[in-house]
Symmetry: C3
Subunit: 371 residues, 3 copies
Amino acid sequence: MDNRRDFMKKSAMVVAGALALPHIEGFAAEQKFRNLNLTPGFVPKKNASLQSKLIVPQKAGLPITGTFLDEISHDIPHQNWGEAEWDLDFQYMKSVGIDTVIMIRSGYKKFITYPSKYLLGKGCYMPSVDLLDMYLRLADKYGMKFYFGLYDTGHYWETGDMTYEIEDNKYVIDEVWQNYGAKHQSFQGWYISGEISRATKGAIGAFHAMGKQCKDVSNGLPTFISPWIDGKKAVAASGANLTKENAVSVQQHEKEWDEIFAGISDVVDACAFQDGQIDYNELDAFFTVNKKLADKYHMQCWTNAESFDRDMPIRFLPIKFDKLRLKLEAAKRCGYDKAITFEFSHFMSPQSSYAQAGNLYNRYKEYFNIK
Amino acid sequence: MDNRRDFMKKSAMVVAGALALPHIEGFAAEQKFRNLNLTPGFVPKKNASLQSKLIVPQKAGLPITGTFLDEISHDIPHQNWGEAEWDLDFQYMKSVGIDTVIMIRSGYKKFITYPSKYLLGKGCYMPSVDLLDMYLRLADKYGMKFYFGLYDTGHYWETGDMTYEIEDNKYVIDEVWQNYGAKHQSFQGWYISGEISRATKGAIGAFHAMGKQCKDVSNGLPTFISPWIDGKKAVAASGANLTKENAVSVQQHEKEWDEIFAGISDVVDACAFQDGQIDYNELDAFFTVNKKLADKYHMQCWTNAESFDRDMPIRFLPIKFDKLRLKLEAAKRCGYDKAITFEFSHFMSPQSSYAQAGNLYNRYKEYFNIK
Amino acid sequence: MDNRRDFMKKSAMVVAGALALPHIEGFAAEQKFRNLNLTPGFVPKKNASLQSKLIVPQKAGLPITGTFLDEISHDIPHQNWGEAEWDLDFQYMKSVGIDTVIMIRSGYKKFITYPSKYLLGKGCYMPSVDLLDMYLRLADKYGMKFYFGLYDTGHYWETGDMTYEIEDNKYVIDEVWQNYGAKHQSFQGWYISGEISRATKGAIGAFHAMGKQCKDVSNGLPTFISPWIDGKKAVAASGANLTKENAVSVQQHEKEWDEIFAGISDVVDACAFQDGQIDYNELDAFFTVNKKLADKYHMQCWTNAESFDRDMPIRFLPIKFDKLRLKLEAAKRCGYDKAITFEFSHFMSPQSSYAQAGNLYNRYKEYFNIK
């Protein structure tokens, strides 16, 4: 300490005495900047027992107990896992308390997750593995609930019109229930996979038709949706902008979703709004409205806690833990019923191709005190 | 099973009985959503012996037997490998049956792969390693054929005009053959590296001039090109769009490439169209034309099977295995002669910085039954 | 060799004799292209003792002895490290001769690095870990100098106006010096974190005010800035372009920074221009001017050697080693005083989530002959 303070005093005197050339003297002790100052024999070694010192209360957020399975991906590059990796990932999920897995969609355009006679007949490509069968076997094995995500034609992403989705899913729902649903204990519900927001044409009718069919065929198994809030970060993943000007207001959001919930709540049991399109300081305002609407229509209020980061030029890598924490804490404060995430395998798994995900897994366990 | 069916029956009764509040009851068994349900002592453990259950015929695709080496990269971030990593990568290539390596270009603008007296004199930067020497030594060592990719001035990427390329390559071809080609058994051919499509001005003349010089200097060693099809995904890597409207039709493609092949086929032995700019359902139509044209002009018909994914906002990460499979199957169906890839080291190698690549390697081996 | 030359001679004869069908014969030896040619029992094995053969002089660049710590990131995705990873990273830094760590900013908009009473009162989010405390403890432990980066409101990134920055930092500088600076031997200076260029309104006044307060409160501890040169690559990270047209000329750069330095040099000790916005062949021209200006105003001339690659569509991954080398060599040629980097932990660390970074670490050690 003394040496430093001597250096400082000298430096201070110079500063006090004259403004001329303070810096050269200020850096006097560092005149050897240009040489490497190596410590012979110093070998880096990890001390895994070092714990981060948390200065926030643990477990103040709603824990994540469900995750999407993003095998037919819209915009997240594929990990090329085989069954060994998926088996391990279900174990990682289970080890942090995830009890629900949701196949995000059974197909997207021409890529499909299972050898659907109907969709193959329409020109879809044969998958090399029956992912639906695999996921159900793994969910059975590890005692998890499986939700089946409906087929996504891709039309409404481009046209904003949902009505195309009904026709194909008529066949999909039937064949899936018959060939898979009725045979697996883990098949516990349906995810009506259309990612809509307020302006999606025909969404109410389409969601109602598909939700009703899911329930009718399966003795009323639960259904849910996961729409997005038309907030400031609701921008195209492949575009150049991270935010937009014309975000929806909380009031307008409430008005429009009141109308949508009124039209679908008899056949949709839960709504898990995506939590990433609004800013962190808007979470409570939107979440409060979401919970109020869910209560009004006797639906469950879930949050789809996005575990990827929307604020970065690379779209998308795992989210910074504190951002996820803020969102889960808001969900708990607002009395939400359940947190699911999009999604564990890319963004939170120790075996993710993105190493940041394994670190997020560790931070998550630290915060929720999971040993 | 019974418990679940009981729950379902209850749920169904509620649904049948009244539309009011079905969901709350539907989720009754899940009322503890908000608590983590951890299994004490459960430790994830990988079972590496688990095999994926393939539901498609194995080996129905054309196997990849060649790869580009992308050391002077245009748009793929560098891996910073040393000779130890390159030596290992040639082994990984060999282990899946790759017998041909193609240095994608010997230089790009001011960055070059070998200490070219000519190019250094023009202001290019001295490389820290003679990559050309290293690749040839490794190809000699592992019994692989090496193709040398010509120098790329960068001009035609910006101007669409190929004529600039001839002048510099006059010198490059001579000095490379004299200093490297004649000395290494593995030096087995030339890659005329200009990545053109139909609209590239002066391409026929430039390709002919460069192809002829390559053959003249080397006793007729084989030459090939790898152009792109001007399809719907032929967009700028750094731009915001993933597709474009004005894609070429199959008929127009045939007409224009008939003309190009007519002008170059006496000095170009093979054409390996890039396979990523068209959609998967267009593969057979374009591949059939490509094979027909190659046959007509007595050229070999190769495919450049891109192992990166063009459909994602991150440009670029490894491709989903099933997409690669669809492309290789189309190449086999259409009677193609050889499949090469762009490229193994980033997108298919177990030591790639992208962990998805190692998984793709495993899926590839599984499908081609490589032990 | 003989076999190959025989094949070549044959091929050459065909070429000489007739233009018809040269290629089919040229490829005769490769007629089995379509079959995989596997070597039974061949198992890839890394030979770690293989050394790259450098053809450039070692240590001709200025070594990197400082790095930013990018914990509150503007545009680099977060790694989610805990204290164990940070402790290890300081060791990796030390092992290559880094003696200076600079926290790039103490906060950005509402995300902050330490529980600042002042900033929390303004609506910032509570961080889960006191990063400032952690960094200072680690810098104390490993004998490194720590520079504190001021708070960044985010305003000037959007408005181009720096004056907003003064007000908040009045409080931040005081509370940080009192609560952290005076207590840690490693607290050795200040980084005035505004990333300005020539056109930033109010920069001189803001930098002077903040620099003066830093010095006044801390007995004249050194301060530095790290602005960007308004070169051809000075483009938005989330935009579609990699370069722009209206880059600044060397002459204009000198004129404008002469004025800026004149206004701040009594309270700013060093300037570390970011080195990534200009092209590699412009390095010497700009660096010469920078050094001349620094000398004129008795400031130290540092370089902020960016270890990420600005030339790629993915923004951003680790830089190719040779690009970093060219920049460090130019800095040494121009007599620079010190090289720092943005930044070690993502782009040069063996434990980075980007595996290319660990390879860059190895190439860097090879070049600087660090065992």
